[in-house]
Symmetry: D2
Subunit: 162 residues, 4 copies
DNA sequence: TTTT
DNA sequence: TTTT
């Protein structure tokens, strides 16, 4: 469909260290659990109340995976932009289940650390990546195939951390 | 938690007419199914491909419910801002399930029609408001001078459709 | 125009303490100067480079003004959502000039502190609110003053999880 | 500065056809004038009022320039994401002036047509460009210079329009 | 004028 | 499971 937008913006804290996996062909995938919360004072009881929402974030962009691996850990505060995707899977009993995740992949995905821990810090974005590693299959896949002479993602990565 | 943000921005089309329900105490709740899509041309096969993502949207804001009921229908294109919420429920077999929805409720929720169907059109936001406490004037009115006798939220509601 | 959106999202640091003024009829107006920066390493020279952008922010929302006054100071890091407005003025020589500002006023304006300085911290939004009721307690608290017969926040709590 | 965000999101209509220029080294630059509006009913007079804001948009991304040239015209409705930049210039009398623009360049810039005119339509993003000119210097580097051997942007462009 |  |  022409003219659609699917964007999630979060600022929250990692509930656990980033979980790093690799696809069969060696590309990294990082999963994050991120908490966002709201607090307010209940008018009737005057008690302070809080609601925490837990988000599943999946990073496919190689550059952002690297950032997550190197700089993020349990408790880190991040700003990110990604998109919603719901995927279907089967539980042990063979029943269909759905999980909704925030996917960071391709252009318009961003990950920024908001606390200075680890001496890191920085503002990162996935330029859509360069070469072989990106998207292979997805709407974002520009390519793959032949190794690009100089993958853009690497260029980008060269710049960071600063 | 201080300093967190949980925001979803979608532009997409309704896959069905809005589904309107009422809570036990009479407040409206509207459910929307919204599709966002991306298309690209597969470089390897040169085929055009498309991926459609379906989103569950729940509107609790009374004002936005009214808008949805009155103006939206299957096929309508909308811009919206809401927040992610995952709720737990039990399926028929008593197993826990989770569903992630985009909730429009309270400040920072917005719903805007992007096609002119139905003679409608307009830009709506939920002030979160109930009745009497919102906006003393107009969104743009910084100033004024004469205290308006009638709360902006009502004004706002009066304003639409325009 | 129906169906338009005018939104600015910034994360940056205050270049100076908030500047607080009052309108003739006593309402507060707060001006902020906020810096956003990007850094990168120049590929050719291998030097680290940086570009800082300075933004003029004007807060008309009383609640957000109060927050700014109480919690923000030079160096504070904030997340904010507002809208672009360009206003015309005359310089000393009578020539027309324009200044573009990010205005926080009414629904869909938000201000969140991202560092914990001052013991503060919090997540604030402008419900378009009128006067006395915002900030008094929490972003979620719409209460204030006379207990509204059916506080929305409570509604909200009732509703979730649903 | 690490951890900053500078993002503008607009949905509005072009007030005029795109204005296309070229830099000395041949790269395209497109200027757009975009209107966003809000309407409301004045509580005191009960008149309908409207405020239109005009935005200056500058597109440096080659891919997005092409899109703008090919598909946009006066009256087109667009969704875009870019960033704020204020540049200094001198008027005829040698006085300093500032103009704030919304710049589409590099990752995290997007342009989407929201009306189907011209048979067009589509969802475009600037991947930060391709080849040789991105990252080489900066996100802000509009430069370029050497023709990229296989510009990513072209890859991307191959996919559109669909 | 901020920040890292 | 985070954070304040």
């Amino acid at each position: 469909m022409a003219g659609s937008v699917n964007k999630v913006i979060l600022i929250g804290n990692l509930g656990a260290d980033p979980e790093v996996r690799r696809t069969q062909d060696g590309r990294p995938v990082v999963n994050l659990r991120i908490a966002t919360s709201e607090s307010w004072r209940d008018r009737n009881t005057n008690e302070r109340r809080e609601r925490t929402e837990w988000h599943r974030v999946v990073i496919f962009s190689e550059g952002l995976c690297r950032i997550a691996e190197q700089y993020l850990k349990k408790g880190s505060k991040v700003y990110l932009e990604g998109q919603l995707q719901t995927r279907e899977w089967e539980d042990q009993s063979g029943q269909k289940r759905w999980t909704t995740e925030i996917v960071l992949q391709g252009f318009n995905s961003t990950l920024t650390m908001l606390d200075g821990r680890s001496g890191g810090g920085g503002d990162f974005a996935d330029s859509g990546s360069g070469g072989s590693d990106f998207g292979r299959s997805s709407p974002m896949d520009r390519g793959g195939g032949n190794a690009p002479s100089r993958p853009q993602r690497d260029d980008f990565d060269d710049e960071i951390p600063f």
